[in-house]
């Protein structure tokens, strides 16, 4: 008689130990797939949220490897904020391993921030892999375009308010304060970029088009042969010719791409290659959303002079 009781007691104790803690209910535990979204969620969520990111700014988000540590972060999350448009499709695999129903696709805690974004580079013709790692829905690297922050933050507020409707007013107020600050910075950034408006640049990977378009710069080519495909020698020769012909002064390189190769091309063509903040945390000093854009604006304006 004593034995079954002991077994039942042990099972109940184990279940109690495994059950989610009540203390964590104070703050929403949010996980963002990329650090840009972590920074924006922190700005909007303030004290209401505890935010973590699955990747670091120095990583290529297309090729993030799903690690069990991601699953650990997701296991406790109330919300998962994802970029969408296939940039962070790997998050599905991490979610599958996290055993957390709050954030499975279709749940209220799954927040995709690409809703309402007018995507650039949406293919208008048939696409296939001969074009490289092409995104049929459009270019997914829009998160560091400050002009799109109102839409992104609105999506974050709406998503978080679904989980915590009583906090909507605070979230809205945080968002407004953040956008007002961004607005002031935007006016200053526009002023800094005004003299170099219309300048032509080369990007290593096509992940800076939104930012360039926002500030009136023109991307005339990419160092990659096609998205995700390393450049062939013939392509590099063409790029060097293009840089010379178009008077390109700058090659923008992501921290995870081959800076040495870009520097060789730049030296050959009489341009300058530098690592830009392709994401929050990608370079020193780009620790949050505003400082990452600040870094890019300052560095580009300096290099294009």
């Amino acid at each position: 008689m004593r034995r079954p009781r002991l077994v039942v007691g042990s099972i109940l104790m184990t279940l109690a130990l495994l059950a989610p803690g009540t203390e964590a209910a104070k703050k929403l535990r949010v996980v963002a797939t990329i650090p840009d979204l972590k920074s924006l969620t922190e700005a909007v969520g303030g004290d209401l949220v505890e935010v973590d990111a699955l990747t670091r700014g120095t990583q290529n988000f297309h090729e993030a490897e799903v690690r069990p540590s991601m699953m650990l972060k997701l296991r406790r999350a109330d919300a998962l904020i994802e970029n969408g448009v296939e940039l962070d499709a790997w998050a599905d695999v991490a979610v599958l391993g996290a055993n957390n129903p709050n954030i499975v696709r279709g749940a209220a805690g799954r927040i995709e921030i690409s809703r309402g974004i007018s995507l650039l580079e949406v293919p208008s013709t048939r696409v296939d892999r001969s074009m490289g790692d092409v995104h049929p829905l459009g270019n997914p690297h829009f998160s560091l375009d400050p002009g799109l922050a109102p839409i992104i933050t609105q999506n974050i507020v709406d998503g978080l308010a679904r989980l915590s409707p009583d906090d909507r007013a605070v979230l809205e107020s945080n968002r407004r304060a953040f956008l007002e600050r961004l607005d002031r910075e935007m006016a200053r950034w526009n002023k800094i970029m005004e003299p170099v408006r219309g300048a032509k640049v080369i990007a290593y990977h096509p992940d800076v088009i939104y930012f360039l378009t926002r500030f009136g710069l023109v991307q005339v080519g990419t160092l990659e042969d096609r998205p995700g495909i390393p450049p062939s020698p013939q392509h590099l020769v063409q790029i060097i010719r293009l840089i010379k012909a178009e008077g390109v002064k700058v090659i923008l390189v992501e921290p995870w791409n081959d800076l040495k190769l870009a520097e060789r091309v730049a030296a050959e063509a009489g341009a300058k290659a530098f690592v830009f903040a392709s994401a929050v945390g990608a370079v020193k000093g780009a620790d949050n959303y505003i400082s990452a854009i600040e870094f890019n604006v300052t560095a580009l304006a300096q290099a294009l002079k």
Partner: protein
């Protein structure tokens, strides 16, 4: 008597009904109150938005969109730390495949093609003792796989893999179901359940399909103890990831036990039980280790118990900012405790006089290291040592290899494999022996369309 019973029943129902109705009314009241609050909040927000100009005036950004999915009118999401019943409640779909639009497929499709070849000695070909037994000195499609995967509904994810491949020299290709499983995603207490036909999560490499393996061939120990295709079973697996400060995944499964190499009873009356514990340690940003232990226990066709214990470890060193690991070290070991029937002809008359039960404990392991200094190139070596589960003897092999990826969708591999055996698991065929085998293995693999991300 019947009338009295009826009266008692009516009284009983009458006594029970009011609290139940009251509870229901209370729940409805709460729900209406919550909806009212949400409506007020949305109205307030609309009023504020209408009264104020947009806070930022980006030149390219279209105006902010309305709430992407709207407040959940029918089933509000459970708060963190919700009760068991709340967690078990079905959720409403909010944003299933919102980007895809009408006329689009609601799941992903991918095709993986895996072609392998080998060149070896003629005696090995005669004895069919090569890595691809019966396919020595040939180039053939080992696995061409069609994968269909995606969400079934808000509560479940499904995966179907149909494959074909040349299994024997000159044989017609047959199409078969490699995997078909459904994973229930919204179970409480950090659990998930998967049912269907699947590659079992036993150790690190068993669950990986041929085209995704980090080597051309499956390690010897897995082929010896689990068969050429590995452990692939029909049944149910339940996993739990408890809310702990470190990652720990527990797994328990019940399967038919069809695998003829290790089990073979193929009945749920005597099922195959599986279990696994997996943890993960990150040593800073650059180093990571995954460790696991597995068990599989079922009965063989001789109705004797066979229990396999497995250990796995995988280490990766990825320098900061690299797209790929610089060093990867992988190892697995299997210990088999198998009861077998031994027939004895004690008086030499050709008739079996006695059948005794004996336990055969067998062991095997492999360890491999890979270095990837460049994005498109990697080189590595794997060492295998394994006994045979039911027959005497052992084998060891060394396999250095090189991998080249022109893109992430195309891969080529070249390997040399040297194998030494004391005995063969099966007798020599056609007067050919295969105790010492030298092979050159090559592989070309492509992926068309979608493919699930690579796990650690």
């Amino acid at each position: 008597m019947r009338a009295r019973a009826l009266v008692v029943l009516v009284c009983f129902v009458g006594l029970l009904a009011p609290p139940a109705v009251a509870q229901e009314a209370e729940a409805l009241k709460k729900e209406i109150e919550q909806l009212r609050k949400q409506l007020e909040s949305v109205t307030e927000r609309l009023r504020r938005l209408e009264a104020q100009p947009a806070p930022v005036t980006p030149r390219l950004a279209p105006p902010p969109v309305p709430s992407p999915t709207g407040p959940p009118a029918m089933a509000p999401p459970p708060p963190p730390g919700a009760s068991l019943t709340e967690l078990a409640r079905p959720r409403q779909p909010f944003s299933l495949y919102q980007q895809r639009g009408a006329g689009q497929l609601l799941f992903d499709i991918g095709i993986a093609g895996d072609f392998v070849g080998n060149i070896t000695q003629s005696n090995v070909e005669k004895a069919q003792g090569g890595t691809f037994a019966g396919q020595e000195n040939r180039f053939f499609p080992r696995e061409v796989e069609l994968s269909l995967f995606g969400q079934v509904d808000p509560y479940a994810y499904a995966e179907v893999r149909i494959e074909t491949g040349e299994e024997a020299r000159g044989q017609e290709l047959g199409v078969k179901l490699a995997e078909a499983s459904v994973t229930l995603l919204t179970l409480p207490l950090g659990t998930q359940a998967k049912f269907g036909q699947m590659r079992n999560r036993f150790g690190y490499s068993n669950m990986i399909h041929e085209h995704d393996l980090p080597w051309i061939d499956r390690p010897n120990v897995l082929r010896n103890f689990l068969g050429g295709e590995g452990l692939k079973e029909k049944g149910v697996e339940v996993t739990i990831v408890p809310d702990l400060p470190f990652y720990l995944e527990g797994l328990a499964g019940v399967f038919d036990g069809d695998n003829e190499t290790a089990f073979g009873r193929g009945t749920l009356r005597v099922p195959l039980f599986t279990g696994r514990l997996r943890t993960f340690l990150e040593l800073g940003d650059e180093n990571a280790v995954q460790l696991g232990m597995s068990v599989a226990s079922g009965e063989t066709t001789e109705k004797q118990r066979d229990t396999l214990l497995g250990w796995e470890g995988r280490y990766k060193y990825r320098p900061d900012g690299w797209l790929h690991p610089l060093v990867t070290v992988t190892g697995e070991a299997i210990y088999s405790l198998r009861r077998v029937l031994v027939e004895a002809d004690t008086d030499g008359d050709g008739i079996i006089d006695r059948i005794t039960k004996r336990e055969k404990d067998r062991f095997g392991w492999y360890a491999g290291a890979e270095v990837q200094p460049f994005r498109r190139w990697a080189a590595g070596v794997r060492y295998d040592w394994s006994e045979f589960p039911a027959t005497p003897g052992k084998e060891r092999s060394v396999e250095p290899y090189i991998t080249f990826w022109p893109s992430e969708f195309l891969r080529f591999r070249l390997a040399y494999k040297n194998t030494d055996r004391t005995h063969r698991e099966t007798p020599d065929l056609n007067d050919g022996s295969a105790k010492r085998v030298d092979e050159i293995l090559f592989q070309g693999t492509f992926i068309l369309g979608a493919h699930p991300a690579h796990p650690f």
